[in-house]
Symmetry: C2
Subunit: 397 residues, 2 copies
């Protein structure tokens, strides 16, 4: 069986299977984010129970603390985290560049200061791959330069040139044949730059291709308009991964454009902040109206939270500051995301992906409209250093 196989298509959307040393992943797949080596508040066993098949961990955070060497000494990332399924590590590029102002970028690499203790650090293609070889994930990412949007055209071109050069160096530096390696397409909203970047990366040759530099400040519409042409520049027989995305509507739009992999902190970050995802839209669990509500978070949801606990209890947990509130809501949200992905896959199989709009009305919600949607966290669910004020927004309401 090849490492990646497309088994069904529905328009540009595709269903497939990705095979890794730690097991198979059905795509389109959603990867929960274990920034610092744990999916916050959720044990690996609970995570399995949500239907999760693959997770993401952040190279930047793990290298700062406890360091890749320590993870390696403790048996590698799988044993360290107690997760025996597939893992993908990012390259640290996004985190370094989202700390703009405290780093220096040259054609060779990036120097920056740790957000934890200010100590000087360096990442370049060789170091980023060495760290990921040490961590030992199933899939590792090339080290790229991820500019914010909007971006000066000259800077954007410079970032793309660097990303291509660095990708070649990463491939050269990669020393473990058991780890797949993905290249990252940059180029902002400039379709010509994106096409050039994709072409050059394909010429270098990777096991899969990611689309980076989206979900970094652009509108939903802008993101979607880039996706279809960029995806069509990538090989049919390799997995395509849209980094850091996102809300259910973003995932649906991207899956429709032919994307296979996603990651986002929203299910757990919003869960910690008392937001429960449901197919009809989010619930704010601190709200008084849930006080004596004996219903589960979502009717017919099969998650461990909905099988046992009421909205009234979960509201109480948040109001009383009990850790179990974030845990139970994160479990539900992760299961919500995995149920959503599962339906996307099933509907692709039967050529009826558009039906998902009826089953999950939340995908029609803009996330920026009035009413209950007013405070919906945006699509930018990337993992930032935990001391940033944006890490734990208090979506009280």
């Amino acid at each position: 069986m090849p490492p990646f196989e497309v088994t069904h298509t529905d328009g540009r959307a595709r269903r497939g299977v990705l095979t890794t040393p730690h097991g198979r992943v059905q795509t389109p797949a959603f990867m929960p984010v274990g920034t610092a080596g744990s999916i916050k508040g959720v044990t690996p066993e609970q995570l399995r129970g949500t239907g999760t098949e693959i997770i993401l961990a952040n190279t930047y955070h793990l290298q700062l603390r406890p360091t890749a060497e320590v993870v390696h000494d403790l048996g590698g990332l799988h044993r360290f985290m107690g997760w025996d399924g597939p893992i993908l590590t990012d390259s640290g590029g996004y985190q370094v560049f989202s700390l703009a102002g405290i780093n220096r970028i040259t054609d060779e690499g990036v120097t920056f200061r740790s957000h934890i203790d200010g100590s000087p650090m360096r990442l370049d293609p060789r170091i980023a791959i060495e760290i990921q070889n040490h961590l030992g994930a199933d899939i590792i990412m090339a080290f790229d330069q991820c500019p914010p949007l909007p971006c000066d055209p000259g800077l954007l071109r410079l970032a793309v040139d660097r990303t291509i050069r660095w990708a070649a160096k990463c491939k050269e530096a990669h020393s473990r044949s058991d780890q797949a390696m993905f290249g990252i397409v940059q180029g902002g909203l400039d379709l010509d730059l994106r096409a050039r970047c994709a072409k050059e990366l394909v010429a270098i040759g990777f096991d899969g291709y990611a689309i980076g530099g989206l979900s970094v400040g652009e509108s939903h519409r802008e993101m979607i308009e880039v996706l279809t042409p960029v995806a069509s520049n990538l090989p049919e027989d390799k997995p395509r991964y849209l980094m850091g995305v996102g809300l259910p509507r973003d995932i649906l739009a991207a899956a429709t454009a032919g994307i296979d992999l996603f990651d986002c902190v929203l299910p757990t970050r919003n869960g910690r902040n008392s937001w429960a995802f449901t197919s009809a839209g989010p619930l704010k669990m601190r709200n008084e109206k849930h006080r004596t509500d004996a219903q589960p978070l979502e009717k017919d949801c099969d998650c461990e939270t909905c099988k046992r606990f009421s909205r009234g209890y979960i509201r109480h947990l948040f109001n009383a500051g009990e850790m179990l509130g974030p845990t139970l809501t994160s479990i539900h949200n992760l299961r919500f995301y995995q149920r959503f992905m599962s339906r996307i896959r099933d509907l692709i199989s039967v050529g009826r992906l558009a039906d998902i709009m009826v089953e999950f009305p939340i995908v029609g919600q803009s996330g920026r409209a009035g009413g209950a949607q007013r405070h919906l966290p945006g699509a930018s669910g990337r993992s930032r250093p935990s001391t940033c004020p944006t890490e734990e927004p208090r979506w009280t309401g």
Copy 2:
């Protein structure tokens, strides 16, 4: 089968079975504390996995938030918490009196202010039982006056007189025959007062008897010297419960004196603060020495944490501020306590309780000695209002 049956004895120590509407409890038993309606950081399923058969919830906290009415509307405490095993609720007496300075005590009852919003509240025998009838635990407690130690002899006598009068009123107010009710023996370190209190409570007649007013400031030796005579004043055929105790050595000493039930926040509170219990003594999991330690928290421990995770990983979780650190350490600590209780029961069965000193050297540790024991949290593991600074001591070390 009677509600409580002693099946084995070893000196004064006894092994038995307590039968409740929600199942049987093997005694001596340890009850984890779910102050505000959750065992902090642990799901009911994880709790079951630790061998826990019965839990405690705090009337005071639940009445303040979300109120007994809301718990009742949501199906009662078992359904509310998602715990289908036996539950015991305390009467709120201890919490009210541990807020000394903000309450007024008369022969009729206590008025105080909520520690959450300062609103005026009242507890008296009738109200305390009404609330507990609403909450619906399997075992409820009479409303008592719990003085601190040391205590003025006149005040102590007054507290005992009130406790006896209130106990009679509680029995009168109790309206649910499916709930067992325990009286609480007060009297500080005064054995005559204790004996009188016990005699009067037995005359009133309860389903079990608790020893209150210990673990409130006295030394370990003082506590132990009171226990044996007090236990011997209580009926052989009813369960005896030592409230708010404690460290493993306190539990062992009390079980040796013939106590059957215990509760304490230490396994979870210390777990949240990175202290792991082991039979050889506690580990401080933030310590640098655990950095690359691939061992489990305790060799041969069968808990979910020890089966999967290393000391190095758990240290990392605490250092990175990950919620999973408190959760995993709490699970281990709860399992440690339940393994300890299980061994106590097994050794009583074979008349060799003293052997536990060899199997669990931690019981020989004073908790106040030098070295690794220096910061060991004291035996006073009672549940206080969560805004009190004593609730979450940072046992960093």
